[in-house]
Amino acid sequence: MGNKRLLLLNGSSRKKGTSYSFSRTIKLLAEASGNKAEIIHIIDYFDGKENFDSLRELISQNDIIAMIAPLYSDTLPCFDIWLLEKLADECGNDLKGKSFFAVGQCGFPDITRIEPLLDSCRLFAGETGMNWLGGLAYGGGAMLNGALLEELGKKGENITLGFKLALQEILQDKKIPSKSQELITIKIPKLLYRPLAAYLNNNARKQAREAGNVDYARKIYLE
């Protein structure tokens, strides 16, 4: 049985999207081994629906903090950067000595695209004196579209197992093992990218038809 407290920051503007689904599974896994975990939505603090002082209070109560976020334009969404800047500038002492890890997810299958997001989290941890435990990258998050991992069959089981292995180390303040990344990585041979693009483009045309035959290639800012 553990006795750690985890604060999971959902870094997506969507409260029931893939980042939330990942946060939820990590929460359930942590609680299953006797720890306490809570999910908060960064967008609520950005929008002023939640008070920033209450977040400081939450941070002081937790041992481990995690950022679970989608990739927007190659790194964290702007409201997540807003939060990290605010925390680093105003709450450095509250963070010192706590542990921090991150999970980034993007729509593209190539997980190397997520590295700048994880680098930002690592550098934030370094700047605030936190103990960086590492990051996990998931490519293909858009295809999950917020589905609960237990509803995804083998794929969901592998992601859950990857998170479970990571948590076993995280809860002992140890680095995320490489095996976790291997388990959550979807391996799509690059040879299949063209057929995949053709399939996705077919879906795009279908969506355009359903939206009333819109011209999705419209150059609206040149009109």
Partner: protein
């Protein structure tokens, strides 16, 4: 040839002033956006810019004038303090809207799945201002600019400046950048 400058620096800093000065002196056509004063709402991942309102965010904010300038321009210059090896919040609020510069369909380029450009490729310059000595921060910043350029299938250049840097050096660096991109 027209340049679009996205300036995410604080008011009254020497580097922004020097950049404006040198652009004016070079007689280049440019649009200059001081992002700190602009109302740019965050992307809510609603997906409307894909098919409901193709290429245009449904939120009413100042990002539309920026995207219009980028669509019509050839070169995009982004000036920011480096925060955590990347862009500061002020710049990122604009960059998050760049999805509108791409189509919701897919292409394969250099063995990567990408969204095709809506307005053709641009030359992208990322100018990062960083007070410390961390090569890690600088390298991460360069990597981020490179990734943005790759996604927009564009050429790029990065420039790292120190806030304490001698203004004569800043002038030379900026002039060299202007000569290269114009």
């Amino acid at each position: 040839m027209s340049l679009v400058i996205l300036d995410a620096m604080e008011a009254g800093n020497g580097i922004s002033n020097k950049l404006k000065e040198e652009l004016l002196q070079a007689g280049k056509e440019f649009s200059y956006f001081e992002l700190r004063d602009m109302n740019i709402l965050p992307c809510r991942s609603c997906g409307a810019c894909g098919f409901k309102s193709p290429g245009k965010c449904v939120l009413k904010d100042d990002s539309h004038e920026i995207l219009r300038a980028i669509a019509r321009g050839n070169t995009l210059v982004m000036l920011t303090n480096i925060r955590f090896g990347g862009y500061n919040y002020t710049l990122k609020k604009a960059v998050d809207k760049f999805m509108n510069l791409c189509l919701p369909s897919y292409t394969v380029e250099h063995e990567h799945l990408l969204h095709p450009n809506r307005y053709g490729s641009k030359f992208i310059v990322g100018i990062g201002v960083h007070g410390g000595d961390s090569k890690d921060q600088e390298n991460c910043f360069k990597r981020l600019v490179e990734n943005n350029a790759f996604n927009l299938q564009s050429e790029y250049r990065t420039l790292i400046l120190k806030p304490s840097e001698d203004m004569e050096n800043v002038k030379q660096e900026i002039n060299s950048m202007i000569r290269e991109v114009c």
